[in-house]
Each structure stands twice: as structure tokens, then as C-alpha cells.
């Protein structure tokens, strides 16, 4: 499994800018970039009451399941998936080996405009991720001040 690129502030700004432009073009509600493992990397738009963490985990799982289905029917992959509802629909598109674009949009908007503009957006997102992948920043977070010798401090059980 390939590793994710290391992203810096400049990368996130670029990704967010692409998402903002995409939302303006499509009138979509919210757009997310996910790691295929289910993590939410960044998002733009009006999330409102949406639980984006859970949405990201489920959308990623569903999309990855669709890739397995693609293999079963002798397809290389399914590049995108659409879930259509009465009020809102969800469009998921492959960005690169590690990431997905997920778009929540009002169903009356129609899938056509979302698909049309997502193609260019995904190219830009993939390009920025490729730039990040080629860069070699010093990563890491110094966790050494943590007292990991005492695991009790992580999750505590409620006392009744």
C-alpha cells in the first residue's frame, strides 16, 4: 500500500481553494477530501449538522467496496459512484491512489454539472497531491513529553 504524501499548509490551502471553486461552480453543499482509509483530510462548504467524520468513514468504505465489485465484474475500477436521494445526493470520485473526493449536493442540481466540474477539480487536487508527494518535508510531531508509561490517562471509564 502506497503511503500518503506529507502535506504542508500550502497544500491544504491549494486543496481548499480548489474545493471552494468547485462548490461555487456546482452549488454543491459540501465537498470533502478523504484518505481511502476513512480519514477526513479537509472539507469546504456548509456542513451544517452533517457528521463529516462518520460520513467520511462510510463513504470511503462504500467506495472501496465498489472497487472490489469492479474487480468481480472484470473492470479495472469504478472511477466514481453516485448515491441519489430525494433531497440530497452524494458523488464520490477517485482522486489518486490514496484519496477520494466526496460531494454532497442537492438532488435538483443534477449529477451532470457535478460530474462535469469534478473532472477538472480532481485533476487539480491530484496535481497538488503529486507536488506534495515529490516534496520531502521534515515531518513528525514530538510526542516525547507525553507520559505514555501511564496508559490510564488515555481513555477513562466512567465511574457509576
Amino acid at each position: 500500500m502506497a503511503t500518503l504524501p506529507q502535506l504542508i499548509e500550502e497544500d491544504i490551502q491549494s486543496l481548499d481553494e480548489t474545493l471552494r471553486e468547485f462548490l461555487a461552480q456546482t452549488d454543491a453543499t459540501v465537498a470533502l477530501i478523504l484518505d481511502k482509509g476513512g480519514f477526513l483530510l479537509t472539507h469546504q462548504g456548509d456542513a451544517g449538522e452533517l457528521d463529516l467524520t462518520t460520513l467520511g468513514a462510510l463513504a470511503s468504505g462504500a467506495f472501496m467496496a465498489s472497487q472490489t465489485i469492479a474487480g468481480l465484474v472484470k473492470e479495472c475500477d469504478f472511477n466514481h459512484t453516485v448515491l441519489q436521494g430525494a433531497k440530497y445526493s452524494l458523488y464520490t470520485m477517485n482522486v489518486d491512489e490514496q484519496c477520494l473526493l466526496v460531494v454532497v449536493f442537492p438532488s435538483p442540481t443534477g449529477i451532470g454539472v457535478v460530474k462535469y466540474y469534478s473532472a477538472a477539480a480532481v485533476r487539480r487536487l491530484a496535481r497538488q497531491l503529486a507536488v506534495a508527494r515529490e516534496r520531502d518535508p521534515d515531518g513528525g510531531l514530538d510526542l516525547s513529553e507525553m507520559n505514555i508509561a501511564n496508559p490510564e490517562e488515555f481513555f477513562r471509564k466512567k465511574t457509576v
Partner: protein, 204 residues
């Protein structure tokens, strides 16, 4: 793979509960959800993609926020896999991006073959993702210790924990929340230790 987001000051970690069918993986998540001490809003909903008979179909998912480390909120994503043999493809999907594993074994004597088979399945599925078991922090939880026909923990260690490096193993009775937090805290400790000793990916 854990994600550090410098922009939002978040550390995201994925822990997967693995093990044979009906071993108590979902019960572990239910107990964590019901009993963990968190501030308001730090615990997400427990999402279960289950069959009509409450068997896990795809996965269970519990997002939960724990402590702050040097200004970084740590967000844990806890997943279970479906234990039933037929859902192996699903287990591979859920393992993608895993940072730590809690292997929940069933302590009943007659379940030992299933425990061993499930553990080997875990090794195989990690290999399919080009991950070696030795690279991933994991702990063992010998669940259902309250039942009368359980195997001794030493015997379960012999079957499941008999490698060059032995990992922490806990007896558990998940439905009584025994061993649940011990396992979760230990795997958290182990994977954070791993982050300390190696470079981690950094997100803006």
C-alpha cells in the same frame, strides 16, 4: 496510517478490532461508547452496519476524541471487522490505513480453532496490504472469561502469542466492560510509542 493535520491541530488514528465471529468485537465498541468519560461532543455516534440479526455486515465505527497532546486533539476511529468467514474482502477493506489492532479472541475451548484461523487470516490480510504483523502494534484480548469452559490464558498465549516478541494480552468479559478499557488504553499507548520512535506523516 495516522494523520497529523497541522491546520486543525488534529491527530487521527485508526484502531481495528479483529477476531473470530461472535467473539465480542462489537461488544467492545458498545462498552467503550457507553462507558468512556469524555467532554460533551467528543464522542460520536456508534455506527453499526449490521444484518437484521445484529451480525456485523460491513463494520462498526466509533469516532472518539481523547486527550490533547501538545495542543493536538487526538481523534480515534475505532472499527470492527465482520468476523464471519465469508466477509474476508470486507475485512481487507477495513484494515486499510490501520494504526493499531485489538485482536478479540473467544476463550471457550471449542473456539480455539476459530481463534487461530482468524489470527492467521489477519496476518494474511495485512500481507495483502503489504503490511507485516510485526510493523503494526496489536494487543490480544481473551474475551468471555466468565464462561465455564474457558481455556487457560497460558494456553491461549501458546496458541496466539507465541512469537519472537510477545504482545500484551488481557483477559476480558466485554459485556461487563472488563478488559475493554485495558485493551484500548494499551493499544493506544503502543501506537503512540511507535509514533514517538519514528517519523509520522504531517498534514498541514
Amino acid at each position: 496510517m495516522a494523520i497529523i493535520n497541522q491546520a486543525t491541530k488534529e491527530l487521527q488514528v485508526k484502531i481495528v478490532y479483529y477476531g473470530p465471529a461472535m467473539g465480542g468485537k462489537t461488544t467492545n465498541l458498545v462498552q467503550v461508547h457507553d462507558h468512556v468519560q469524555t467532554s460533551a461532543g467528543n464522542k460520536g455516534k456508534l455506527v453499526s452496519l449490521a444484518t437484521s440479526s445484529d451480525r456485523t455486515l460491513f463494520f462498526d465505527f466509533l469516532p472518539i476524541e481523547a486527550m490533547t497532546i501538545k495542543g493536538f486533539k487526538t481523534k480515534f476511529q475505532l472499527y470492527t471487522v465482520p468476523g464471519q468467514v465469508i466477509y474476508n474482502t470486507t475485512r481487507q477493506l477495513v484494515l486499510r490505513g490501520v494504526d493499531g489492532i485489538v485482536f478479540v479472541a473467544d476463550s471457550q475451548y471449542e473456539k480455539m480453532p476459530e481463534n487461530v484461523e482468524s489470527f492467521q487470516n489477519l496476518v494474511d490480510n495485512l500481507n495483502s496490504l503489504k503490511i507485516h504483523l510485526a510493523e503494526v502494534p496489536y494487543v490480544l484480548q481473551y474475551n468471555k472469561r466468565d464462561l465455564p469452559n474457558v481455556a487457560p490464558m497460558e494456553y491461549m498465549d501458546f496458541l496466539l502469542n507465541n512469537r519472537d516478541v510477545q504482545v500484551p494480552a488481557f483477559g476480558g468479559t466485554a459485556h461487563k466492560c472488563e478488559g475493554v478499557f485495558e485493551s484500548l488504553n494499551m493499544i493506544t499507548r503502543m501506537l503512540l510509542q511507535k509514533f514517538i520512535t519514528q517519523s509520522v506523516p504531517q498534514y498541514a
